[in-house]
Symmetry: C2
Subunit: 341 residues, 2 copies
């Protein structure tokens, strides 16, 4: 795109000054892109109205590289927070948006990211209502970090809590795991695979809300296994509930090329980050109906039940493999893939 | 303090993994410090209830150095957002809290910052309800960046908008300007002055709310002149209202040592960042009463009327000096003092 009309090609320290250059950047890019009555007040904050319980979630995004196959840090910052609000059983409605930009970021890259944020926000049905832009010196950041905080009204039918989980509950996953992490990792390592692995970054809020509308409080918990992957979320659930989690290796949806990439890099797909994946822990008597409903949705077409909650082996996740053996899935200790989101 | 019991002395990449090390850091420091029913759910987000219009504001804090005379980045991150919510005419109630930590940050420094956040939050009457922690590699950040997003119920008596500003309105400031910026700047430059300049970082929400309770919609606008200082906020107001702003140099509260430091460093105090300062633009008939009420409060004891809104020189700020001359106060263009907040 032609950025000459803007009068600047890179983000400079002056764009974080709070003065005319800041206003210029906001007017020409941010306010122009996200124009809505809340943001257009250009005040220190925004005023909204809710009639119900609201869910709030915040995340900072520091993914490296900022552009990757299947997306960029901008849409990731929208989807990540939209999904976290959805996992609370709420309908995401508003986002705040705060940038920390390293001096020297190309304005073209900034605009590409801002446009990706706008598109992802529109598709997710959320509005950007307030924001902030800071600029740090070269070498004191890494191109761009983005914080989003999201707000949404809780679906009155939702009752999402680890306290509701009981023995016999089924664990359902909406689709292929490990795609986001392997997309970032294969790109970062300069590896080339025969097929291109793309990030699965997407908004899950509409599918999640449909499930809550249909099944209400029989959906006991929703979680998106981002950093730390499926293993970490399931470990936390087993520990928080003091119950066991049993999963079946052959049931876990894993694309062949992603499995191959994991093998080449010596990574366990269970620990690799996801961005378009969620698990639902549900009452056993609705499990099949949940899977069927998910499968009718593009974002759940590969949905499957991968396991259940057990009274045996409390606080532990046990995985049965295809040969009939089983092993304990330890929680992730340190960092497997730094800066994945 | 003794950090040996923690089992780690610095923040490592593993603390941003989403795995056991992340949970360990959260359990031992974050959840322990901020324990409350919202945060203790340890979910992806938090659910709160509001019955009214709510104000939302976000800010990322990248101040350097992270420890400065009069405070640190932690309390700054609370006060900054609490004050932004207050400037919307709202009573701050909840904060989200997101860290981006550079690998290698000393855990003692992290804990000092977390404790400062806790104390500032308690004093301001807000609870930390959800958060996030990311870790970036050495050289890809600068010790610690903090994002806070704040939420508060709008005072039903408040009607804060530039649209309400009319010719004749008075401009009142609560106290000494330029203290925060000069505290950071003198420390950063290694300058030593006879007296020590301290940041004015503080929460303004209770004083602001008292004013709204007393004077309601006769308070037309509230703004805190942080980055860009008094000059930038007044310039924006003159432009947004298409009216003139007249201020009187001799009225602007400026401590002697701050004035001296500005002179040594060649800075204009009008452009220097504040953290405990706000301006109120009010109906002329309540101006004296507003000043008197402010002066009874510790955080407004040096309050004074510094000028008014005029029909002359629209879109411009004009300052009358002590010799009877006047000059146009231009808005700040680029960066005077990078990373001041």
């Amino acid at each position: 795109m032609d950025t000459t009309a803007l009068g600047f090609n890179t983000i400079n320290l002056g764009h974080g000054s709070g003065g005319v250059m800041t206003r210029d950047l906001l007017d020409k890019i941010i306010f122009k892109t996200f124009s809505n009555p809340y943001l257009n007040q250009k005040h220190d904050g925004s005023i909204v109205h809710f009639n119900n319980k609201i869910a709030i979630s915040t995340d900072s995004f520091v993914v490296s590289p900022i552009f990757f196959k299947g997306g960029n840090i901008g849409e990731l910052a929208v989807h990540g927070t939209v999904n976290d609000v959805a996992m609370c059983g709420a309908i995401p409605k508003y986002l705040s948006l705060a940038f920390i930009v390293e001096e020297g970021l190309k304005i073209e890259e900034f605009i590409t990211i801002v446009n990706a944020i706008k598109l992802a926000a529109d598709i997710s049905g959320v509005q950007i209502i307030t924001g902030d832009t800071k600029v740090v010196e070269r070498g004191k950041g890494d191109k761009i970090f983005i914080n989003t905080t999201g707000f949404g009204e809780v679906n009155p039918k939702a009752n999402i809590s680890t306290d509701n989980i009981k023995v016999g509950d089924k664990i359902i996953v909406n689709g292929f795991v490990a795609q986001h992490g392997m997309a970032i990792m294969s790109q970062r390592e300069g590896l080339e695979f025969e097929s291109t692995i793309e990030s699965d970054t997407t908004n899950l809020n509409f599918l999640v809300n449909d499930l809550i509308d249909e099944f209400g409080n029989k959906i006991h918990l929703l979680r998106d296994p981002t950093r730390g992957g499926l293993a970490s979320v399931l470990s936390e659930i087993s520990q928080d509930t003091n119950k066991g989690v049993t999963i079946y290796e052959t049931k876990i949806p894993l694309e062949k090329q992603v499995a191959a990439a994991c093998e080449i890099l010596g990574l366990d797909a269970l620990y690799v980050a996801n961005e378009g994946v969620f698990i639902a822990i549900v009452d056993a008597d609705i499990a099949n109906a949940v899977v069927e409903m998910m499968q009718k949705d593009e974002k759940g077409k590969n949905a499957v039940c991968i396991g259940e909650i057990t009274s045996g082996h409390p606080n532990k996740v046990v995985m049965h493999n295809e040969l009939g053996g089983k092993r304990i899935v330890s929680p992730l200790i340190g960092e497997q893939l730094p800066r994945i989101c």
